[in-house]
Amino acid sequence: MSSSKSVLSVRDLKLYYRTRKGVVKALEEINFDLEKEDTLAVVGESGCGKSTLARALVRVLPRNIHTYEGKVILEGRNVMELNEEDFRREIRWRKISIVFQGAMNSFNPVYKIGYQVAEPLIIHDHLEKKEALKRARQLIELMGMPGVFADRYPFELSGGMKQRAAIAMALITNPEIVILDEPTSALDVLTQANIINLLKKIKNEFKLTYIFITHDLGLASELANRVAVIYAGKMVELSSADIFYTQPKHPYSKGLLASAPTLSTDRRPEFITGVPPSLIDPPSGCRFHPRCRFAWEKCSSEEPAMFQVGEDHLVRCWLYGDGK
């Protein structure tokens, strides 16, 4: 089912949370394939399920999971079938690692940066501590930091430096796929640009495949060759970046692009009215219909599928569906 070239294929991934108010349908019907050295940007407003997708892929889940199912196929093997022990030993950090949202603020204040970067190696590879620390220092230098920063504590580093350390930590186990969940969103633009340059450089150097999660479409275009838009827990558009940025199809994607301010054109930014819905009781039919200016009756009664609109372009919208 997955194409032979793909390093990662996701099929019908679904994740629901259990809460006191009801079941949160955070992620449904997620399907995509990634080839080696692709960067898939996952974009959408906050609360749409981007971080949930990240956590579902590395299986770092909170306790209140209601449903977690579907296929995650890595190199031809459905790793959803692995038990936790095997998943931890073979997949998480080894094949697919992650820089969590807000990672730079998650360092333990009482350990030195170098030790924390080395930790995945010590825990998962049972590498001798001295060897692991040496590797950590090398990687820290590769991230553009002075090696002595390995001996510093988190509070002694700036936000940008801590984020570089968080990236080093995700790379130390030599993964093939790295998930970056809003890796620069708390940083200043110059620091952000420097970190994006770094991410480009290490991607080339280590032949990495990225899943880059962001709500900023401008930033997404700095890395992505493919773009997935998610809205209210569902993917609504999936295509190459070249097509997405020049010929977006889904009304939500168009709205998002129109709201991104630009400095190089005279286009006045516009906004989508309303807010994303609660995922406990999402709208019937197309989940975007309460905010969509093209909506008609069918949109609120029937849910659109992902329709193929081009060779490498899928859109979940009745405007492009059968019988329109």
Partner: protein, 330 residues
């Protein structure tokens, strides 16, 4: 330019924070957060104040509305020197100015309804006596920020509103005493892109309709364009460049402004194929900033003089000021 009159003028305004090393120590250090800011804002105009975090934007904003007492320089508001106002005069100035802060979620008491939160400034300043009049003002403010039907929102609690809606309430609260100057400190940086534009568009309409002076603080140069007449670029407590917003964006002169422009991401699928030319490093600590040009440690164009002397502001083109030795006329 607008002839109707100037609203606000800053002359060499300074705000330094005292830092003592240990509480018995007699050695006092200063964080020079705002170190000599001069500009003028006319009634009904908006000025963007742009810079990275730690550049002194919030300190400047709070000093302007006199939540902080300046250490030097002057603030002239409607031809009146408000630099060191006290007591009742200060209370008047508070009424004439409003503040919207960054975090909408932390801006309201959780046990107050929206109505009660909006009524608060009216009670404190005692500007309207009757309950009915207060209610009228609250509803009018909600209408101004398009939280309609107003009855639907007035009796809600903060947790029932989205970030964007709360930020509208914050704006309503800031304008309820009918101020002439509004400081909006990163009002949209915690919101999604689409909501950002919605809120900025609303602020812009209010500014025009009420002829408010607005100081829009942001770290995002891209949002200044359609939402301000003037822009002022801050770096490490200094104003590096100021001009019409359009002029700064079209013809940026200061190396720091140019770096900011280059670094600001724009949606374009070709971006992935190139690296950005941006200076490495980070802004200096403001306890001991470079004595010369504060950007000199990172500046790609720095030359000898830049490491020796602090540049003054040069008027490189009419109304376009740049604090950089490159624009010194020989």
């Amino acid at each position: 330019m607008n002839s109707e009159g100037r609203l606000l003028e800053l002359e060499d305004l300074r705000k330094w924070f005292e830092i003592r090393r240990g509480f018995l120590s007699s050695k006092v250090n200063y964080v020079k957060a705002v170190d000599g800011v001069t500009f003028r804002l006319d009634e009904g105009m908006a000025m963007s104040l742009v810079g990275e975090s730690g550049s002194g934007k919030t300190t400047l904003g709070k000093t302007i509305i006199r939540l902080y007492e300046p250490n030097g320089g002057r603030i002239i508001f409607q031809d009146r020197d408000v630099t060191h106002l006290k007591a009742n005069d200060l209370k008047w100035y508070r009424r004439m100015t409003g503040l919207v802060q960054q975090d909408p979620f932390g801006a309201f008491a959780s046990h107050f309804t929206i109505f009660r939160s909006l009524e608060e400034p009216l009670l404190i300043h005692n500007t309207v006596k009757s309950k009915e009049e207060r209610a009228e003002k609250v509803f009018k403010a909600l209408e101004e920020v398009r939280l309609t039907p107003v009855e639907d929102f007035a009796y809600k609690y903060p947790h029932m509103l989205s970030g964007g809606q709360l930020q509208r309430v914050a704006i309503a609260r800031a304008i309820i005493l009918e101020p002439r100057l509004l400081v909006a400190d990163e009002p949209v940086s915690m919101l999604d892109a689409s909501v950002r534009i919605e809120i900025l568009t609303l602020l812009r309409r209010l500014q025009e309709r009420l002829r408010l002076g607005v100081i829009y603080i942001t770290h995002d140069l891209a949002t200044t364009r359609f939402f301000s007449e003037w822009a002022l670029i801050m770096y490490a407590g200094h104003v590096m460049e100021k001009a019409f917003t359009q002029e700064i964006l079209r013809n940026p002169l200061h190396p720091y402004t140019r770096a900011l422009l280059t670094a600001t991401p724009e949606p374009n699928p070709e971006n992935r194929n190139r690296f950005k030319q941006v200076p490495p490093g980070e802004p200096p600590a403001l306890i001991d900033p470079p004595k010369s040009c504060r950007f000199s440690p990172r500046c790609p164009h720095a030359f000898d003089k830049c490491f020796k002397e602090e540049p003054p502001e040069f008027e490189a083109a009419s109304g376009h000021w740049v604090k950089c030795w490159l624009y010194e006329r020989s």
